[in-house]
Amino acid sequence: MSHTLTVSGVALEIEERGSGRPLLFLHPGEGLQANRPWIDALARTHRVIAPNHPGFGGSALPDWFGTVDDIAYLYLDLIEQLKLEKTLLVGACFGGWIAAEMAVRSTAALSGLVLAAPLGIKIGGHLDRDIADMHSLARAAFMAKAWADPGKGEIDYSSLSDAELSGIARGRESLALFGWKPYMHNPRLRRWLHRIDVPTALIWGDSDGIVSPTYGEGWQREIPGATLTTIDNAGHYPHWEQPDAFAASVAAFANTI
């Protein structure tokens, strides 16, 4: 179900399911995890196109590639190459940051924007940590912050193939490459969010310990007309933890645009 497509010289491993209006899904820093039910839930109403970001899973990471800007331009090229129109752009966590960077550049091919617990902007002062320092936490402490029910997020690594493990390890390294400093944000992005001129929905898990709903309100203030919806019993990855509620929320938003 995944296929490889070369865009601007970068070979991307893309998961594609469903039919109908295009939905470009940009995955979180923890990876695509296409075997979880979220993708099928979204594919009930849309043609879901979900690339592994460069350096994640089986997608290439060329030497010259190294910033979130690069990813944003790459995916704008992907939209052009696939001739997508009226695309619903959905980004979760790190993918939400990428989606916002794309949308401030061009919304020409977008019908709407969904940001699920996005990283990417700075709201507080020098001593305020808007985004939890995920990389200074032991794995168990990270899971406790990132999931309402950490047990649902556990992965049995011993059951995965070397190729899958390699995809995960590559993704962790690539997330550091793109987001280590400034930590998981672009200090300039907040000032340009006003350029987003398509309907925008912010979705937040009620138990998100990585970025709080207050941070979500910061996003809401910057994007004209954006709505903010909370999903119960979900942490930082509502699409994984509550896939049906998440898909319903996306579908409801899609029906309004």
Partner: protein, 396 residues
């Protein structure tokens, strides 16, 4: 085999509390330091370095950050003091963690300044740094070695260019006018050292002809040295023992018991120093993809690689002196004992030109440390200088 004494200038009075908290580094609040006591210890450790010059051995300094295990926060700062207090010892930085330094030209300036101050006694180690150094420096662990090599090239260019200024527009570093003053006495630049634990590092060091050292990692040294020798041969030159360094804890005494006791006290450093909160042990990108796949599969222990001569893993936290000796990370006993152990080690390794003598780990008293340095310098080091390429390796 030349001998280089080093000590991390530990703040051991806080170790007990750090162990109780489960981390000696990064997230161990510095309220556990009594700064007056720290100053006394620093002066004591610097006296121990000064003794090396008197007994005829060389000196190595390293640095760590945000830790109770090492108060040396800057190799050039420590060596600036030591350079003034010594006359003959060569002075090695092992090293400058250049991928964690935002300003490589500043590193070149500091190294040139030290070379001038010391009358050309500087040896310059340019190192990757330990994984838990990433957090205090907040340097990006992804593509760390790419940044390392760019910094390395820029530092050597800055030290060896005398008709500057030159400009540098790289991936990580940008300067329009590089022209360091003063310039180093040793030309084109002071000797360069690297550290590593892998075959890959051995190969890369051979391609540049640098000295390669390995720190407290027993069985890993030989494959790295062999890779170096092989690559050098491919490139048309023979790597002599002076390209290889090995760090070990050494306790020497007037009796075997005294030597073992000293080694045991120094070994407390190794039992303690690796203790750091899990979040800082493996920043993504620091370790190779293969190592990270193994860690995902088998847990962090998969990456614990120090083994004894039978290939058995040992537990750094609890090992006895005898177990450490089996891993060749500790040498101990009388001067004769230690010489014989090192002679045998040299033969097994195919010739190692530099011994990095870890002779102070924190708990060792000043009196014991001075005696350890003095005995080693007078009764072991001169005999080690006679060790060259072992007969077995020379015959290969």
């Amino acid at each position: 085999m030349r001998t280089w004494y080093f000590s991390e200038m530990a703040y051991h009075p806080a170790w007990k509390e750090g162990i109780e908290r489960g981390s000696l580094r990064v997230n161990f609040p510095n309220q556990a330091v009594d700064p007056v006591e720290a100053g006394k210890l620093l002066n004591r450790y610097l006296d121990e370095f000064r003794l090396c010059d008197e007994v005829g051995i060389d000196i190595m300094v390293n640095e760590h950050h945000s830790t109770a295990t090492c108060m040396t926060v800057s190799v050039p700062m420590a060596l600036a003091v030591i350079a003034r207090e010594t006359k003959k010892s060569r002075l090695l930085t092992l090293g400058n963690p250049i991928a964690n330094r935002p300003d490589p030209v500043r590193v070149a300036e500091e190294m040139a300044w030290l070379d001038c101050l010391s009358g050309g006694r500087l040896e310059m180690g340019l190192v990757k740094g330990a994984p838990y150094e990433i957090a205090p420096a907040n340097s990006n662990p992804a593509r760390l070695m790419r940044r390392y090599w760019e910094a390395h090239d820029l530092i050597l260019k800055a030290l060896s260019t005398h008709d500057g200024p030159f400009s540098w527009e790289g991936e990580y570093y940008h300067y329009r006018n590089v022209n360091i003053w003063p310039r180093p006495i040793q030309q084109p630049h002071p000797p360069v050292w690297m550290t590593g634990m892998s075959v890959e590092t051995g190969t890369l060091a051979a391609e540049r002809g640098h000295v390669v050292g390995t720190l407290l990692s027993g069985g890993l040294a030989k494959p790295m040295y062999d890779a170096y020798r092989k690559r050098a041969r491919e490139l048309g030159w023979e790597a002599k023992p002076d390209r290889f360094a090995y760090a070990a804890i050494i306790g020497v005494g007037h009796t075997r018991e005294e030597g073992y006791r000293r080694a045991d006290q120094i070994a407390d450093y190794v039992r303690t120093a690796p203790l750091v909160y899990e979040g800082f042990t493996n920043p993504p990108g620091y370790n190779s993809l293969g190592a990270n796949v193994a860690i995902l599969k088998h847990g962090a222990r998969a990456n614990r690689i120090v083994t004894d001569r039978n290939g058995e893993q040992i537990n750094h936290r609890t090992a006895t002196v005898e177990q450490f000796m089996d891993t060749e990370t500790v040498f101990a006993g009388t001067p004769d004992d230690v010489f014989n152990q090192l002679k045998a080690f040299n033969a097994r390794m195919g010739g190692v030109g530099h011994l990095l003598f870890f002779g102070q780990g924190g708990h060792l008293s000043h009196q014991d440390a001075m005696s350890n340095i003095s005995l080693f310098g007078k009764e072991v080091a001169p005999r080690l200088l006679e060790l060259g390429v072992p007969e077995v390796a020379a015959a290969e």
